[in-house]
């Protein structure tokens, strides 16, 4: 099938999509956007978190056909050219990035949190990021990063 979708503000088209493909597969393998990650492909780890019409979703759980004529924003669409989004900047600065495989999903989840709650408390940050697994950091520096990004807004 053919899928038409707006990705990061650009009209995109994917051809020969098999009906069983996920949005994640289409982004990664057909649209050249591998930033959203394939850590579990079962909706448990949050590494593939993207905005679908401004709502964060696990791209691995969205069938490709469901995004027809809708808007997707991925981690690749957060920076403004060379200028990182403040959340991205804070993740690098705070040491919240080690292997970085969870990072794209966490950056999108934190970006969404700060849009909704500009000054979140620690319990609010923890609750908002509870769907994103990280295996390297123990999360302390991820919390630092979100606090840092919030302080700069």
């Amino acid at each position: 099938m053919r899928v038409n979708v707006t990705v990061n503000g650009e009209q995109r088209q994917a051809d020969d999509v098999w009906e069983g493909e996920s949005l994640l597969f289409v982004l990664r393998e057909r649209l050249g956007l591998p930033g959203s990650k394939n850590a579990c492909e079962q909706g448990e780890c949050g590494s593939c978190t993207v905005y679908l019409d401004d709502v964060p979703v696990c791209a691995c759980l969205v069938a490709a056909g469901q995004v027809q004529d809708r808007e997707v924003r991925t981690v690749e669409g957060l920076a403004d050219g060379d200028a990182l989004d403040p959340v991205q900047e804070a993740f690098v600065e705070a040491g919240a990035v080690q292997c970085g495989f969870c990072t794209p999903g966490l950056v999108v989840a934190a970006h969404d949190l700060l849009d909704r709650v500009p000054k979140p408390s620690d319990p609010e940050i923890r609750e908002a990021l509870a769907g994103n697994l990280c295996r390297c950091t123990g999360y302390e520096k991820i919390l630092d990063a979100v606090r840092l990004a919030a302080s700069r807004r």
Partner: protein, 728 residues
């Protein structure tokens, strides 16, 4: 003007002792860093692996006829398509690339499919017909040695005995215990992946997520029947490792498919396949007897431990040696009896995971120290300090600890930290959290301590070295440096450390880290907490050669200074096979934890409220990264304490998913306050002491001690499950 290294250091920022940003950080937060599973090649096809559903079976036939007929399929391969040696392994070559006539674990690879789409490959795989004669699996590590032999030579992979001092001395106070450690998974987030690209001359390039390029290369070349120079590896982005990428997974398979089809082949495991595709932490059963005098001074420690290596040896021999040599912990004990056994079974293969044998022993000996404290009426910290080793102490192997061993100091540091406030009234901070299972009723608090010891770098006489190349030239009128190694960056931050070392040694701020590949010599494994030590040492040594040629010049015109050198740490010795005596280790690392937990005793739910750590790192080359390692290692220890276990039944994995294999989320992790000591080791570059593993060892027993303190339960097994707490 000629500057000394110290003067040069002050001239540039981002040298050692500071925390500059990772060179790959911006790419990673933008989603533009290329991990192995992100790779793409014009005309590439997808590989898939058919695996055994049985833990132990004889293969009576394999029929690929129908699979080959599926449109879009380029190749279906079995063991007869392996042109070279169909056996590989880190220490013993005992594991088939593709099974021949027997499978020894559930998930063992039998056949490969190459196809135009991952779904085509899966469909074709289902058309491969394998018939089995299913056999009774060997699953009990304690009886495996006398059970059906799974390999020629039987099921005992290695026995490491240690005999020190009197073997029959008695003591006033004796405590005994039997402890179990479940099978933990590395659960790195980036699944096993790679891209193999065939060349016209019959050689192959592999872009791969691994921990050790050269040992991968050697094993791949042997399996492909190619000379080593015809197998070229380049490290791709690696999504975590923690030991789980030290063994081969899809490396040979992708190369076989690529050479067979003449097309680039991408292989990416999904999460379930990842659970079958890499080795895990050895489950263990450990019997201990500690004898002490009435002042709490240890008189003897005797232990017998079993480590389940599963179907293939992997790094079991080295894991067993670690468990044995570190088996009494960071304590002075004159009389020691250790018998550590690594066994073959039909359980999933086990090998390297952060802590590597020291974790299993650590849970047991620290549980014993708490039991001893209770028997003596002493505090857990006091009994540990009473026996704490120091610089100059003698290990059970007879090796003298010849650099800082601040065991008592680390314990005091965590003991003196402020305790968290009492049990919270916010349900988000109670056991069960937002599940709203308690408002504080049935919740009890406990505090526990533990300390651990880990060997750093490779041991037992292994020639452990790394190779580094540093090149300096003029760029835009300034000196610029490039550093090249084959040492794998897996997330820990070696790329940053190498830049920092070059800046400090050469006073050159602009340092590029070249891709890690096999065009340069061996970098050794990214394991045993060794890369900053050994590859850091090699980069430092290469810089010294460059610095001599620079001779203080800040303008070298068109000249290019390019130096490559190997660097090795001081030699170690083999263990005596009868007494276990010998200077087997290079360096020891120490960490201590204090855990505070709240336990809902009605539901068996645990919330770790605080998990503070003190660790000696010799010298913190990058303080931010050091703390990140300690916090990350502590988190993996928390996972083993209260949630993480690959559960097997009759050799079959029951929970190969992130739905059923739980790793800590941000809600499970408490704040972690970290104290970093910098007591330089005079034998190591810059005095550093490996950082990654020690915190993983003491975290688990500290948490379990806290749960015991809260509940009064014995808790001899990790992970602690709700039913262990409720008795249901």
């Amino acid at each position: 003007m000629t500057l000394t290294p110290a003067e040069l250091t002050s001239a540039v920022s981002g040298g050692i002792g500071t925390s500059p940003q990772r060179p790959d950080g911006n790419l990673k937060v933008r989603g533009e860093f290329a991990y192995a599973s992100d790779l793409w090649h014009e005309d590439m096809i997808w590989g898939a692996t058919l695996r055994s559903p049985h833990p132990y079976a004889r293969i009576t036939s394999v029929d690929i006829t129908e699979a080959l007929k599926v449109p879009g399929v380029y190749a279906v391969l079995t063991h007869s398509d392996v042109p070279g040696r169909n056996l590989y392994g880190l220490e013993h070559k005992d594991q088939p690339v593709l099974a021949v006539d027997v499978v020894r674990y559930q998930g063992e690879p039998i056949a490969l499919v190459g196809a135009d789409h991952p779904e085509t490959a899966l469909r074709a795989m289902k058309k491969i017909v394998v018939t089995y004669d299913v056999l009774d699996p060997v699953v009990d590590m304690e009886t495996a040695a006398d059970d059906t032999p799974l390999h020629p030579g039987g099921n005992l992979v290695r026995h490491v005995p240690i005999r020190r001092g009197s073997q029959d001395v008695t003591a006033d106070v004796v405590v005994t215990g039997r402890y179990e450690v479940g099978m933990q998974d590395q659960a790195f987030l980036g699944p096993e992946s790679g891209l193999a690209v065939p060349a016209e001359d019959g050689s192959v390039d592999l872009y791969i997520a691994t921990q050790w390029l050269h040992v991968d290369r050697d094993q791949i070349a042997a399996a492909l029947g190619l000379p080593q120079e015809q197998v070229r590896l380049t490290l791709s982005g690696v999504g975590g490792a923690f030991g789980g990428r030290e063994d081969l997974s899809m490396q040979v398979h992708a190369c076989l498919l690529a050479l067979h089809t003449g097309k680039p082949v991408k292989m990416v495991y999904n999460r379930e396949e990842s659970f079958y595709g890499h080795v895990h932490r050895h489950p263990a059963v450990l019997y201990y007897e500690h004898g002490a005098d009435r002042t709490g001074k240890l008189v003897y420690v005797r232990t017998r431990m079993y480590l389940d290596g599963g179907a293939y040896a992997s790094s079991t021999p080295a894991v067993v040696a670690n468990a044995a040599t570190l088996g009494v912990g960071p304590y002075e004990v004159d009389n020691v009896t250790v018998d550590a056994y690594g066994l073959y079974t039909n359980n999933p293969p086990c090998g390297a995971m952060r802590g590597f044998g020291a974790v299993q022993a650590g849970f047991a000996y620290e549980s014993q120290m708490d039991k001893l404290a209770e028997a003596l009426g002493m505090s857990p910290v006091d009994v540990r300090i009473r026996n704490a080793m120091t610089e100059g102490s003698v290990m059970p192997t007879g090796q003298v600890v010849d650099s800082a061993a601040p065991v008592a100091q680390l314990l005091k540091l965590v003991q003196d930290k402020p305790l968290p406030a009492g049990t919270s009234s916010d349900i988000r901070e109670l056991p069960g959290g937002v599940s709203n299972t308690t408002h504080g009723e049935g919740v009890v608090r406990g505090v526990g301590y533990a300390v651990g010891i880990k060997n750093i770098c490779f041991s037992e006489g292994y020639d452990d070295y790394s190779t580094a190349r540093v090149r300096v030239s003029m760029v835009n009128g300034e000196l610029a440096a490039a550093v090249h190694t084959a040492a794998c960056e897996v997330g820990q931050g070696l790329v940053t450390i190498m830049q920092q070392i070059v800046r400090t040694e050469l006073g050159i701020e602009r340092v590029t880290v070249l891709p890690m590949d096999t065009t340069i010599g061996n970098g050794g494994s990214t394991s045993a907490s060794r890369q900053t030590y050994v590859t850091g040492g090699a980069v430092k040594a290469a810089c010294a050669l460059v610095r001599a040629r620079l001779d203080g010049r800040t303008d070298i015109g068109d000249e290019v200074i390019d130096e490559t050198t190997e660097w090795r740490h001081r030699a170690t010795e083999a263990l005596d096979p009868v007494t276990g005596q010998g200077n087997a280790h290079v360096q020891y690392g120490f960490a201590a934890h204090r855990a505070v937990v709240d336990v809902d005793v009605d539901l068996g739910l645990v919330r770790v409220v605080a998990l503070d750590c003190a660790q000696d790192v010799g010298k913190a080359l990058n303080p931010q990264a050091v703390v990140g390692q300690i916090q990350g290692g502590s988190a993996q220890g928390l996972g083993l304490a209260v949630m993480e276990e690959i559960q097997t039944s009759g050799g079959k994995v029951r929970n190969p998913s992130f739905t059923d294999y739980l790793i800590p989320t941000v809600l499970d992790m408490p704040p972690m306050s970290i104290d970093v000591l910098e007591l330089a080791d005079p034998h190591a570059p810059y005095g550093i002491r490996g950082v990654g593993e020690p915190p993983t060892i003491s975290s688990t027993p500290a948490i379990v001690a806290a749960i015991r303190a809260a509940t009064g339960l014995a808790l001899t097994r990790v992970p602690v499950r709700p039913e262990h707490l409720t008795g249901t």
